[in-house]
């Protein structure tokens, strides 16, 4: 890993020990006084985030996403490995690291409800070493940017959930951090608020040049928002690629030929590059479904072949679609679990 990254995790490991008192032993059905359990929240997790990049950490509940974010923000100490932010070690240079980070954690209010957004920003600004005119200017700019300008003097308790979340993002940005960590930023928000938050995150990386690490279990959020995605399951990073590469890697090479009547399947199956072929009748009309070879050249030849056969048979071709692969199916394939 080199200085080109703003966030680096190198072989990070974290195990939590859970203590249960008076737990019933499943084998003997006897009540035991004490039992320890180990939960591996992170197992040799390594990834890096470039400046201006939105990196998504995707995983089911309890996969270790929040623990990973907390290790980057210094709230949780890793058992092994190293976390670096802007080249600084989170363990050894924590205070300097915290100046470079803005964090919004899931399920917490963060904001002080009796205060207005402007007063909240002034309060947290001071906690993060921002003062005077700089603080005032930045607070106004952020509220303007996030769309809370007209609510700046309204008490937070009177704001909607989406507006509170927007304010939490402003608080995280008040010290102008290089890296923003967002833990499930759209959870519990309505479609409009969720869309607004996503748009602002994208705008933020483009306009303000921030790097964003976002955790989510919402596939749509990840697919729309992230430049790169790391899929985490049971504490292990099972994939880490560009969103487009991840979709391509697991892309379904299945093509749907929408026709006016069902063609004969044997000639299609005999074509080089065709792995599987079947006919289907749907509400949309008859369909020939063909699964092709992974290689680009073989795939191209097979597609030409199928079209040629359909023409020879006098079948009217209404359209061709490729079955869309989405992140949800990729995610399920990788984690082999339900969300």
């Amino acid at each position: 890993m080199s200085g080109e990254f703003l966030v680096e995790l190198d072989g990070v490991q974290k195990t939590f020990r859970l203590h249960h008192f008076f737990k019933v032993d499943e084998d003997t059905q006897r009540r035991r006084l004490y039992r320890k359990q180990r939960v591996h929240a992170a197992q040799a997790v390594s990834f890096a985030v470039r400046p201006g990049e939105i990196f998504g950490l995707l995983g089911p509940n309890g996969a270790g996403k929040t623990t990973t974010v907390k290790m980057i923000s210094g709230l949780v100490r890793p058992d092994r490995g190293e976390v670096r932010v802007d080249g600084l070690s989170v363990e050894r240079q924590r205070k300097q690291v915290l100046r470079r980070l803005g964090v919004v954690l899931e399920g917490t209010r963060t904001t002080i409800w009796p205060l207005t957004p402007l007063e909240n920003l002034a309060y947290y600004g001071n906690l993060k070493n921002v003062t005077g005119r700089v603080l005032k200017r930045r607070a106004h700019e952020l509220l303007d940017f996030i769309g809370l300008k007209d609510k700046k003097n309204v008490q937070v308790r009177l704001l909607s959930r989406g507006q509170k979340q927007k304010l939490a993002i402003c608080i995280a940005l008040i010290a102008d951090p290089k890296v923003l960590l967002l833990d499930e930023p759209t959870t519990g928000l309505d479609v409009q608020s969720s869309r607004a938050i996503k748009d602002k995150i994208i705008e933020m990386t483009r306009d303000l040049g921030k790097s964003v690490v976002v955790t989510t279990h919402d596939m749509h959020v990840a697919q729309e928002l992230c430049d790169r995605i790391g899929i985490i399951d049971k504490g292990r990073l099972v994939a880490c690629k560009k969103t487009s590469e991840l979709l391509e890697l697991f892309s379904d090479r299945t093509f749907i030929f929408r026709v006016d009547r069902l063609p004969s399947l044997d000639p299609v199956r005999d074509l080089p590059g065709v792995m599987e072929a079947s006919n289907e009748l749907s509400a949309d009309g008859p369909m020939l479904i063909v699964r092709l070879d992974a290689g680009m050249e073989a795939r191209s030849a097979a597609l030409y072949g199928v079209v040629g056969l359909l023409r020879e048979e006098g079948v009217l071709l209404r359209g061709i679609d490729q079955r869309q692969q989405n992140l949800e199916t990729v995610f399920l394939q990788l984690t082999s679990s339900t969300i």
């Binding site: 210094g74 205070k95 964090v103 309060y123």
Partner: protein, 280 residues
């Protein structure tokens, strides 16, 4: 150091805004506090001799009411300062504010120190007002020596702060300690009310235990100055700096602050390792 003042400024502004915005609550809080003290004092004054004797020798002398009120106020102060580190910390963990404080570059100790000073100053100001009003109501006057009182209040605060840091450290790791801490706060509260020189004439074990507690010597010293005007029970004058409790108060300040801060740092690290820092 600059960070400490910044946090303090933020806390003053926050407290002032909330106090001003919820002015009705602030004013009624003062009236309720005053009314509560008056009712308590009247109750004790009206109670039978047997009850008075059973409760404490404090109520046999002429300044009993003032003594009781002052003890009550010191108790409230102790209750408040320690509570800020226990229940306050629990509350902040629940709302997520604690996580943000943990991620402040000034560090958790600086943040808490600044918060405590602001909160304690406000408590002292409102308590002083209430003590003054109650003493006026009952015709008793306090012997007010600004320098000595300020010194004693500062030492009392430092003492409680050290103890509070220790309790707060425990709450960082074991959040449920906050519930148990209510009992400790109540004990400190009771001790502040009934603390007097006689306690220090007990056996060595009891005496050592009393000196070790963070409020005993502070309450004795404050009562010695404010109520007894430096006079001992035999009528001799004993300046504050020569009072044995003052020596123990200073010693206790050093010990509790060292233990408290060390414990808090250790617990903060332990809490990070356990993954419970800032979370409820």
């Amino acid at each position: 150091m600059f960070g400490f003042f910044l946090v303090m400024k933020a806390e003053i502004v926050r407290s002032w805004i909330i106090m001003r915005r919820y002015w009705f609550r602030t004013i009624t809080g003062l009236f309720i506090g005053y009314g509560m003290l008056v009712v308590l004092v009247l109750g004790f004054m009206a109670s039978s001799d047997q009850v008075e004797q059973a409760m404490s020798r404090n109520f046999e002398d002429a300044a009993a009411a003032t003594n009781f009120v002052l003890g009550f106020i010191i108790g409230m102060f102790a209750f408040g300062v320690v509570g800020m580190f226990t229940q306050g910390l629990q509350g902040m963990a629940r709302t997520g504010i604690l996580e943000q404080l943990c991620m402040s570059p000034h560090g958790l100790i600086t943040n808490f120190l600044a918060r405590s000073i602001v909160s304690a100053t406000m408590t002292i100001a409102s308590s002083a007002f209430m003590v003054y009003m109650v003493s006026l109501t009952f015709g008793e006057t306090l012997h007010f020596y600004p320098g000595e009182v300020l010194l004693l209040l500062t030492l009392t605060f430092i003492n409680l702060l050290g103890f509070g840091f220790m309790m707060g450290g425990l709450v960082l790791v074991f959040k449920q300690v906050g519930q148990v801490a209510v009992l400790i706060r109540m004990a400190l509260f009771g001790l502040a009310i009934y603390a007097n020189e006689d306690i220090l004439h007990q056996g060595a074990v009891v005496r050592s235990l009393m000196h070790a507690l963070p409020i005993t010597d502070a309450a004795i010293c404050l009562k010695h100055v404010l109520i007894k005007d430096h006079l001992l029970s035999d009528g001799t004058v004993l300046p504050l700096l020569q009072h044995p409790s003052f020596f123990y108060l200073v010693l206790s300040c050093i010990v509790w602050t060292s233990i408290g801060v060390a414990c808090f740092r250790y617990m903060e690290n332990w809490s990070r390792a356990r993954g419970t820092l800032g979370a409820y």
